[in-house]
Amino acid sequence: MNSVSKKSFLKNPYKKWYRKLREFSDNVELDQKSVARNEFLRTENMLLWGMFSKNNEYLRLLAHEKEQLALSASQMHGRTQVSASLLSPAQIIKYTRSAEGKKYVSLFPRKPRVAKLPIVHLEAIIRSITEEHPSWKKQQIYNEVRKYFPEVPAFRVYDILYDIGFWDG
C-alpha cells in the first residue's frame, strides 16, 4: 500500500538543480580584493558609458578592437558570459580565432594563417622599414609591407612614405 502511495507522488523536476544552486550559494566565498577591483572597474565602466552615450553615437568597433575584446571575453564563463560583453557569442568565437590567426579548427594538420596586424600599425611598420633600409626604393618597401598587410593598396603606402619625408622619386 505504501509503495503505491509513494509512486503516486510527482517527482519535483527542480529538486536536483535547486540542490546544486543551494550548495553553490552556501559555499560561495568571494575574495575581498577581487571584489574591490571588480566594483571599481564596474563603476568606471558605467561612468565611461555615461560619457560616451552623451554624444549619442553608436560604438563601431574596428576589427582589431573586436579581436582585443574577444580574447578577454572568451575567458568569461558562467553568469556574465553573455550579458557583460559588447560582442555576441558568435563574434567572440570568430574574433578569438582570427586573433590567433586561425580560420578553422580542424583535426587535420594545416598550415596556420599568418596573423594579420591591425591597420593602425601600418605607419609604424613603414617607418621601421625605412629606418632599417634607407636605400630601398618605394616599390621594395611596398613589397615588404605586403608581407604584414596583404590587402593594403600601394597608394596608401606611398602616401605615408611621402608624409614622412621618404620620397625616392
Binding site: K20, G50, H77
Partner: protein, 202 residues
C-alpha cells in the same frame, strides 16, 4: 490583418501550460548550470579582465587617442576615489581614467575643499545622495529616485533636478546601467538571502 491563430495558440490550454512549464525548467536548469560551472571568484576575475579592456577602449574613443581631457566631475572623483582606496596595491594599474596617485590626490583635494554651490544649484549632499541611489540601484530610473528622495524628506525636489544631477555626473539611464547585470558583490549577498525561497536571481 491575419486573424489565424498560431500553432501555439491552437494547442489546448493544458498543452500550453505544459510547454510553459517546460520552458521554465529549462531556464532554471541553464541558469544553474552556467552559474555553478566555474568558481565564482574565477568568473569575477574574468569579468574584471574584460572590463579593463572595454574601459581602455572607451577611454581611447572619448579622448581621441588620449589627446583630450575627460570631463570628470567632483562627484565622480568621490565615487571613484572611495572605491580606489579599497583596491589592493597590485591592481592599481587597472585604473584607466587617470593614474591611481592622481585620482587619490584629486579625491582628497575635493574632500578638503568641496566645490561651492552655484546659484539655484542642487545642494551637494542632495546631489551625492541621488548619485549614490542611482549607482546602488541600477534598475531605478529618475522617477523612482525622485520618489525615494521624497520619502527621505526632500519634498521640494523636482524631476528635472534628478535628471540634471544624473546627466551632469555621467550616470547613464537605468536601461544602460542594467546592461552589465548585478555586481558580484550584490549578487552573492542576494543569492544567500533568496535561496531559501527559491527565487531566481540573474
Amino acid at each position: 490583418m491575419n486573424n489565424e491563430l498560431s500553432f501555439y495558440m491552437n494547442l489546448p490550454l493544458t498543452e500550453r501550460e505544459k510547454l510553459r512549464e517546460k520552458q521554465k525548467q529549462r531556464t532554471y536548469r541553464e541558469f544553474v548550470e552556467h552559474l555553478t560551472a566555474l568558481d565564482a571568484n574565477a568568473q569575477m576575475e574574468a569579468e574584471s579582465d574584460y572590463l579593463i579592456q572595454e574601459n581602455r577602449l572607451l577611454y581611447q574613443r572619448l579622448t581621441s587617442g588620449d589627446t583630450e581631457l575627460l570631463d570628470i566631475t567632483p562627484d565622480n572623483y568621490r565615487m571613484l576615489g572611495e572605491l580606489a582606496k579599497q583596491m589592493p596595491e597590485e591592481f592599481r594599474e587597472n585604473v584607466t581614467v587617470l593614474k591611481y596617485d592622481d585620482l587619490i590626490r584629486i579625491y582628497e583635494h575635493y574632500q578638503q575643499n568641496p566645490p561651492s554651490p552655484k546659484f539655484r544649484q542642487v545642494p551637494l549632499e542632495v546631489e551625492q545622495l541621488i548619485v549614490d541611489m542611482a549607482v546602488n540601484h541600477p534598475t531605478w530610473g529618475s522617477p523612482h529616485i525622485l520618489h525615494a528622495m521624497r520619502n527621505v524628506g526632500y519634498l521640494d525636489l523636482k524631476d528635472h533636478h534628478v535628471r540634471s544631477v544624473l546627466n551632469k555626473n555621467h550616470i547613464p539611464i537605468a536601461r544602460k546601467r542594467m546592461k552589465k547585470g548585478v555586481s558580484w558583490k550584490n549578487f552573492a549577498a542576494v543569492l544567500k538571502q533568496s535561496i531559501s525561497t527559491g527565487v531566481i536571481v540573474k
